[in-house]
């Protein structure tokens, strides 16, 4: 079933026709990030706007997806509405295994549907349904309706959909995956919206023969390793919110639009507090025994006495930072209320929360007023943020439409750029120090997961620019390899290069197993080449003043060190700014 070539579905929404393509290059592009970069090179137009109908939306899995534990994620690649450059977003849920069992290594969607549509894909069917009645429907209701409309395979399918923010073209719109996971960052939801694509449902309705030989034993070994180590404990029990308290202690947790990096009020929103007060249950991505998805609940009172209903919302470290500490909210249920509001309109929680934090400070400073925000925004005021999140998602007025294109775009118009917490995109929740600020602002996805910079900051006090940037450059190929597999990065300690090679051998890919190092380097370069071709210019990335006034456990940010890091990292990345000279990638579009 895992072959040397990729099996790809190209679907043209305008013509309502699909085509199965067999693409060579497993040993070079691997899958996931590598395959997506190749497919963008083949199907995308680097110089054209993201809004061009022919720009592709790409979903790609890896060679080990569904074959080993935690090989359970999907790379979504597209030209981003946020910066009009090539980017990736990674998501989990059931999407990865649904693609595997639909027999597809990748899905490429081009064109624009003539009316709002849902695309249903399985091993033996492709159907594009017109769903004009779903216009303006939020992401939760859209999921419910799609489950009913495409009735088969409950539990063995993945439902991707957008809410109002995707339809409105917000650069912060995410794609909701199976309710509790997302292709969150960089505006993938707007790409779907622009294509008139409300939802994608992928049915994992076929089966494959198991690889022979060592595979079953190796699976057993890895499964035991995953479930016997403290990974289960770490990510299942409290999950990533366990990091809130230590990062607050380290003075590395952004509070109130990064005006502070620590606050004693953390006690009510620690990982333990969330688990004890709000945790309803855990869920897992398909094929992952860890079960790191934490689903909390909050109760709402109806108008009548003693009438209640409840809502379920997934939480993690990052959403708690964005809808909690960044907005000065210190009640766990209220954080879930704001997240629920963001979820419904399908706004990326991190981007939305950070944007509203800027709007709050801009309001305090008198740069904007209730004329723009429509509701008063005050740090700690949950009700205001619940409404503002919906306004931002729906792009209800000129102010919110501008803010939805990015905080710096709003700041360029209304002022306040110096306190916009933007590092390439709205910041992740790590005010750990200079290297993280430099790495996120210049990184490929502008994600804290592009590099281990936030971890490096927490362990190093020296200010050796070359050593720090060496770390970033050396760290990247291994991460790229994992995102090409497409493994959950929680498993990076298990899936070492040696283990990946063993896994690939066991499923009949010895050629790839023997060339992993070369593949990692090659894909790193290819991804950057594609990004540079779409207009990336490291020198144009700015780090707002707010980041220079941050105080962490190491003391105040060293401006000179940060600027030198940024300059050196940008300089090193420029070596990838060369034309793509790959012979197989130069082929005519399949």
């Amino acid at each position: 079933m895992i072959s040397e070539h990729f099996r790809i579905l190209h679907y043209d929404l305008h013509r309502r026709r699909g085509k199965i393509i067999h693409q060579e290059g497993r040993n070079r592009y691997v899958g996931g990030s590598g395959l997506a970069a190749l497919l963008f090179h083949l199907y995308g137009t680097p110089e054209a706007s993201w809004k061009e109908a022919e720009q592709p939306l790409i979903l790609a899995i890896g060679p080990l997806t569904g074959l080993f534990p935690l090989m359970s994620k999907v790379v979504c690649a597209f030209k981003s509405p946020y910066h009009d450059q090539y980017t990736e977003s990674h998501g989990g849920g059931r999407a990865a295994l649904a693609m595997r069992f639909a027999g597809l290594d990748a899905i490429v969607i081009t064109g624009k549907a003539q009316s709002l549509s849902c695309l249903s894909i399985g091993a033996n069917h492709i159907e594009c349904k017109e769903v004009g009645f779903m216009r303006g429907m939020n992401a939760i209701s859209s999921g419910r309706l799609m489950r009913r409309m495409f009735g088969a395979n409950a539990g063995h399918r993945s439902i991707l959909r957008i809410g109002q923010s995707g339809e409105a073209g917000s650069a912060m719109a995410c794609i909701n995956v199976d309710t509790y996971r997302h292709f969150g960052r960089m505006g993938s939801g707007a790409v779907m919206g622009d294509k008139n694509l409300k939802g994608i449902i992928i049915h994992g309705d076929s089966d494959f023969d198991q690889p022979r030989g060592d595979y079953p034993k190796l699976y057993q070994k890895l499964y035991t390793e995953v479930t016997a180590t403290d990974m289960m404990h770490k990510y299942f029990d409290l999950g990533t919110p366990a990091n809130l308290e230590p990062l607050n202690e380290l003075q590395s947790l952004p509070w109130r639009n990064l005006q502070k990096t620590t606050d004693p009020a953390i006690t009510s929103i620690t990982g333990k507090a969330f688990a004890e007060d709000t945790l309803l249950r855990n869920a897992a991505c398909s094929g992952c025994p860890v079960g790191c998805i934490h689903i909390g609940y909050f109760r709402e009172k109806s108008l009548q006495a003693n009438r209640y209903h409840f809502h379920q919302v997934a939480y993690d470290y990052e959403p708690i930072f964005a809808a909690g500490t960044m907005l000065g909210i210190t009640d766990s249920f209220n954080i879930l209320r704001i997240l629920d509001s963001l979820e419904k309109v399908s706004l990326d929680a991190m981007s939305g929360g950070v944007a509203l934090a800027w709007a709050t400070e801009a309001s305090e400073r008198g740069l904007i007023s209730a004329n723009e925000t429509l509701v008063p925004l005050r740090f700690g005021d949950t009700d205001g943020y619940i409404q503002a999140a919906a306004f931002l998602g729906k792009g209800i007025n000129d102010f919110y439409q501008t803010l939805a294109q990015g905080t710096l775009k709003a700041a360029a118009r209304y002022g306040g750029g110096e306190f916009a917490c933007v590092l390439g995109q709205e910041m992740a929740g790590y005010a750990t120090g200079e290297l993280f600020f430099a790495a996120q602002s210049l990184g490929f996805r502008h994600s804290h997961l592009d590099t281990g910079a936030y971890s490096w900051d927490q362990k190093n006090t020296d200010k050796d620019v070359d050593k720090a940037v060496d770390f970033l450059m050396e760290d990247e190929p291994d991460r790229v390899l994992l995102t090409s597999m497409v493994a959950c990065l929680f498993a990076r300690s298990i899936y070492t290069g040696e283990m990946l090679a063993e896994c690939l051998h066991s499923v009949g890919l010895p050629g790839l197993a023997a060339s992993l190092d070369e593949a990692g380097e090659y894909i790193r370069k290819l991804r950057w080449q594609v990004r540079f071709a779409t207009g990336y210019t490291p020198d144009e990335v700015v780090i707002p003043k707010r980041f220079y006034s941050v105080k962490t456990w190491k003391g105040e940010i060293d401006k000179v060190f940060l600027d030198r890091l940024r300059k050196e990292y940008g300089r090193r990345l420029l070596r990838f700014k060369v034309p793509i000279d790959d012979p197989s990638a130069d082929k005519e579009r399949p």
Binding site: M1, G66, L67, P69, L97, R100, F101, A123, N124, G143, R144, R147, A154, G155, H156, D178, T179, Y180, G204, D205, S206, D207, F208, D209, Q210, P216, Y219, Y223, T227, M232, R281, N282, A283, A284, C285, S286, G287, C288, P289, V290, G291, I293, I295, Q312
Partner: protein
């Protein structure tokens, strides 16, 4: 003198009765392998299929799903069954299948054989590929299956899955999936200890 009497006579050790039981099981395994019987193929590996009581009664075990409230929907059980029993990579070609009941928000349910006795699927099978298993459920002999699909609609709980090649998959109560549930949702229990059927 019967064969077993001869064996017992030849073996004067105090545990010669046990030896006889083991021999019986070995013969069953051999016959089962010969008939390409899934039930038999895993008899030796599971070792939990039979447990000899002091009174020499064979006690059957069944797969149960008593703690599905704890299920996270990781599908590890289905994937392990498909992999180990059916040599497949699949969510569905498995004896136990995990479905969501109203999206992930409402939790998960296990679709599996509830061990009917008599089993309507065995009665419907025209080739005896499915035959009644003692204690409930069925014994599957894949070589005898003509892929007619007659068994599928007879199952009152939709526990038989038919793939596009018309191959059918149903739980054979071997219990091998139990070790692959990271949340301890599954059990493999002797029939007379099962207090309540939970899904």
């Amino acid at each position: 003198m019967s064969f077993f009497t001869a064996v017992d006579k030849a073996d004067n050790s105090p545990c010669r009765g046990q030896y006889r039981k083991n021999l019986m099981v070995a013969i069953m395994i051999t016959v089962a392998y010969y008939n390409d019987c899934i039930y038999g193929q895993y008899l030796a590996k599971t070792r939990l299929y039979y447990r000899c009581h002091p009174d020499s009664e064979v006690v059957m075990k069944l797969l149960t799903t008593p703690r599905m409230d704890q299920c996270t929907g990781c599908h590890s059980c289905s994937l392990s069954c498909a992999r180990m029993i059916h040599k497949k990579l699949s969510w569905t070609c498995a004896g136990i299948r995990i479905e969501s009941s109203g999206g992930i928000s409402s939790g998960f349910r296990a679709v599996r054989c509830l061990a009917c006795e008599p089993a309507p699927c065995a009665e419907a099978c025209p080739t005896s590929a499915f035959s009644q298993r003692k204690g409930g459920g069925i014994v599957v002999r894949k070589k005898l299956c003509i892929r007619c699909g007659a068994c599928v609609p007879t199952c009152p709980v939709d526990a038989i899955y038919e793939n596009i090649q018309r191959e059918v998959f149903v739980c054979i109560h071997c219990g091998r999936c139990v070790d692959f549930c990271p949340q301890n949702c599954l059990d493999y229990e002797e029939i007379d200890t099962i207090e309540e059927v939970l899904l």
